[in-house]
Subunit: 481 residues, 2 copies
């Protein structure tokens, strides 16, 4: 197996590429402009001329720039204008029972097939994860005579791990202590514990529309009803609509992915989070926030969590290390606020969490490499999202709309009129590419014309080829209309 | 930290002690009888005279035998006759909603306090577990560059692990394949997945009375109703009663711990299991069986699972390695029969299982040491159960009834008239001993005069002292009446 950690060379080379793509993105460099010379770029970034050459070669291959003999590199003419982002969603405003489970099962099964390019999931490439360091941490907790990793770790979970997680929330201006945290099997269980703690069979739960399909499946499993709230691709859940709906329906909880929403990638501004928390506190309605992508911001600042504005213990924050450290370790957590007893009670009968992986993550966090790792990871995801976004814009037909996420690693794409994402899913799978059709993200089977793509994979010829394949199929489907 | 695996010497020494206790138990040796001489025993068991001397010394200390100068060792007069087992339970026969969660939480919290002897849980001593081998297996799956343990392991779980579990069911005469198995976070999640797969909010679930409190907590969490069925301390759930109740109520599922019931230790005969499966098949009612103690039989033969008699896919078998290998690894499984789709659907939104511990258990099972380990473990548990049983008989007041489990490691004890187990729980805790009061095991707060004791701890002065403490308190409470 090849070395999985990026070498220093490839890291520098990516830095160069990123800078140029950024400049194009911000229109500092426009089509036809000359790209800074090899020598100039080399001086500016303090890297070798060879590194810059390699980076420019890659950018040329990716279609961003072109070489002109004797003159250097120039920004290529874009085939079309910057794609628009999808419009604000307009879901129906009645609570609905949910039945998405079977479709989700089929899609997941398709994704797991060997040889299929998994653009249908929202998973990071393992190459981006600190595999060596995590394995070392796991090896340390399994020292020959160690009893620590063998025995039960009762809820709320390993104390040092909770302490390390509490440390990290301090950076966000939240005063969360280790005893305010309950360890869960990934963010999925964290959400499931939270939802069961605050609502019951038959209760109405307000969710963004579209929303992450596992949230819908949970609502389905628990026999609750989903009320879809319209969502803006930039700013997230529409709070005016939510406020109106709260007056019309007996909503028992709100679930939001405020930071880098899955699938739309929106980032709810901190002022809106504060408004949301206040609005719900006035009505004593719990807010469950899924912050799994929060650490993966492309901008300078880590967005806050709604919990920071919570004065009444009504916010339950759920997250995990599955997108940043080790998906297979299943280390997530809840900050359950005033629902601590109920969450713990649920946790006991849903199964304690595994001890060795709790110890290993605590060990890794304690050793202090997490922030450095996150910085690299954010750069990588930003780069991958940007490249996939550009490439989709190049190869999908006119009329395609693409989100412009400010964090995370998924793209939400609105296809041209007449293209059915379920049909696209079938045809793409025959050619070895999986996607997530939009209907998965709504209890009312809306979003047939949308797909979600995973940009968590390291950008490569294979990924580009998969996007090309999708582009060709979408062209055919659109032409047929 | 001291070596945790028993040395060869202490193993032999235990063998000698076990043989003598067995002979006393079967009344081959009666009070006043001379115990075989050191020399004779040494020849017979092919161990050194010193080993036999050590074993006899321990038996003397434990009150089984006494030394008479110049004459050797003799069986001590028992203070009273062999204690009776508790009578068949007589629960009310109406479905009840359940609210045991808060008491369970309090008891578990008490048990976790530092310095408390945990007789209130049903946990093995880590000293009995293959700590070294499990740690080695975990270290092997965390080799430096290994990607395997980092990535998601989608339900139904790791293939090699499922294959190893399937192998083991073959010994039971069941034809279960790897694809018939779903990995879960311990038996608790396995039961939870099963219950949610076959029944819904408001449905009636028939359970043994008393039964394992987590089963009741699950029924509580899922908003179902529990119908308590009377249970015999030797043969388990009363099938005549069950059959009558099935005609009276719309029972949606039956949950049974047929092999070494928790807390009563009963073993349902295989013919009864067959009758149970047939009875339910005629009515198309699913049967969930918890087989977590099945491998811990004291007799020669591994009892069968109800699944072996299942022709219709209506039996869901749940188990785990938590009582035999590593509680903290959270490796359990379900054999869901025809409910496979529903179980998988639940599993997805309750959180995937951790990858490294799945790989480590698969590795351990593949290496072939499990059966040898189980043989030793069964001997240890049998010995511990017997010693605790004898000691309770010695130090608890006249009128105490004690189960005689044929496997597992818990004792269910009926206290004399007038003794309240909740009061005993409070008083014992003040003296550093936790117990499980009987009320935990019934949705109708029956069994106030019962307690469950954990004999999973290696027998020691501390454990004996804790039982002494309980005996004194029970004497006081009984005298006050």
């Amino acid at each position: 197996m090849a070395t999985v950690c990026p070498t220093r060379d490839s890291y520098l080379y990516d830095q160069v590429g990123q800078l140029v793509v950024d400049m194009i993105d911000k229109q500092t460099l426009q089509p036809g402009d000359r790209v800074p010379s090899l020598r100039k770029m080399s001086r500016q970034l303090k890297v070798s001329v060879t590194t810059v050459m390699q980076a420019y070669g890659a950018l040329e291959e990716q279609g961003f720039i072109e070489a002109r003999p004797q003159s250097g590199y120039f920004v290529r003419a874009r085939r079309r204008a910057e794609p628009q982002v999808p419009r604000k969603s307009r879901p129906r405003s009645e609570p609905r029972s949910v039945a998405v489970g079977d479709t989700v099962a089929a899609i997941l099964a398709a994704t797991k097939q060997r040889g299929v390019m998994p653009l249908g999931v929202a998973n990071p490439s393992t190459e981006l994860l600190p595999v060596k360091a995590m394995n070392r941490a796991l090896a340390r907790v399994s020292a020959d005579q160690s009893l620590a990793s063998i025995d039960y770790c009762f809820p709320p979970g390993h104390e040092e791990l909770r302490r390390q997680i509490a440390f990290r929330t301090v950076d966000l201006g939240c005063n969360v202590g280790p005893d305010d945290i309950v360890i869960a099997n990934g963010c999925t269980e964290a959400l499931s514990l939270s939802l069961s703690a605050v609502a019951r069979h038959g209760d109405v739960i307000a969710v963004e529309s579209p929303t992450y399909f596992f949230i819908l499946e949970m609502i389905e499993r628990l026999g609750m009803l989903a009320l879809e709230i319209c969502t803006d691709a930039e700013t997230g859940m529409c709070l005016d609509t939510l406020e109106r709906e709260l007056d019309r329906h007996d909503v028992r909880a709100v679930v939001t992915v405020a930071n880098f929403h899955n699938p739309v990638g929106s980032l709810m501004p901190d002022t809106s989070k504060q408004r949301l928390v206040t609005m719900l506190a006035e009505r004593a309605i719990p807010l469950i926030e899924d912050d799994i992508f929060g650490d993966l911001h492309f901008g300078e600042t880590r967005p806050r969590i709604a919990k920071c504005f919570d004065r009444d213990g009504l916010v339950l924050t759920c997250s995990s290390f599955s997108k940043t450290l080790a998906p297979g370790y299943r280390i997530g957590w809840v900050i359950p606020g005033r629902f601590s007893e109920a969450v713990l009670k649920n946790k006991r009968t849903m199964g304690f969490s595994a001890t060795p992986t709790q110890l290993a993550v605590a060990e890794f966090l304690r050793s202090g490499g997490y922030d450095r790792h996150l910085r690299r990871l954010r750069t990588a995801y930003r780069d991958q999202v940007q490249r996939m976004r550009y490439h989709v814009a190049q190869v999908f037909p006119e009329g395609t709309r693409i989100t412009r996420p400010q964090g995370g690693f998924v793209l939400w794409i609105e296809l041209p009129q007449g293209v059915d994402s379920l049909e696209l899913h079938e045809l793409a799978l025959q050619q070895g590419v999986s996607i997530a059709p939009g209907t998965l993200f709504s209890p009312t089977q809306k979003y047939r014309r949308f797909i979600r793509l995973n940009a968590g994979m390291v950008w490569s010829d294979e990924v580009r080829g998969a996007v090309d394949t999708l582009g060709e199929i979408v062209h055919e489907l659109a032409a047929r209309d």
